[in-house]
Amino acid sequence: MDMNQKGLRREANEEAQAAPLVPPVDIWEDNDGITLKADLPGVAKEGLAVGVDGETLTIEGAVSLGESAKLKDVYAEVRVARYRRTFVLGRDLDSEKIAARLKNGVLELRIPKLEAAKPRRIPVRVA
């Protein structure tokens, strides 16, 4: 889960004056856990860091477009080459078993619930 954090930190220092972009996300929950999808266009596997510290989930990504150094900007809507977003996980989620998948610039996280936290049907006995 802790991929390339050092590299990201170094870049973060260099660009510390510009706030990172906040990637848009979709989040939904089913009986077994939570699924999170985040748009991180331009982030390769090497530039992605997903980490959990206590109950805090952090997603960080560095944009690498592979453009030539001679490229001069004419017009830019994306002006920062970093993404960062943090979430607080509930205690009912199993942060040890988070699965991450990155495809075409979309990160998909699956955060399962702890067994104890899964919904159970409580049988009602007729007295």
Partner: protein, 156 residues
Amino acid sequence: MYPSLTAFPGDLFAEFDAMQRLLGMGAWQPSSIRAAARGAFPAVNMGTTDEAVEIYAFAPGLDPAKIEVCVEKGLLVISGVRASEAPHVSDNFHVYAKERYEGAFKRVVGLPEEVDASRIEATYRDGVLRVVVAKRESMKPRRIEVNGLEQIQHKQ
């Protein structure tokens, strides 16, 4: 239930706008007539090198075979459809956030005059569409030899 999971994302351009206001560059600053409203999908960057004009469209989660890229009368048009991936709210799902763009999209970028629209290349990597349009040979910067007076006289 998880309020922090549903916090709305910050505005990418807020800082830039604030800076512009600070510098007294307000609404009177001319902008391209085709510049889209902020937050348009996909976001587009454009840059130039000596050889080509490069356009980057930040369009993650697409099938590259279904992205339409065409050039018409000096305009580059990028269009397609991004399907919805989040499930609909039902008994089995709670949806906490649905911020990612879904549906049809189309962005139009005016190309500079010096490009050769017949030499255009598009690649899709890590959710970014990169379109490289070559510049016309006659428009590329080149070095002109400066002849001394003597050399010219020799030729006569």
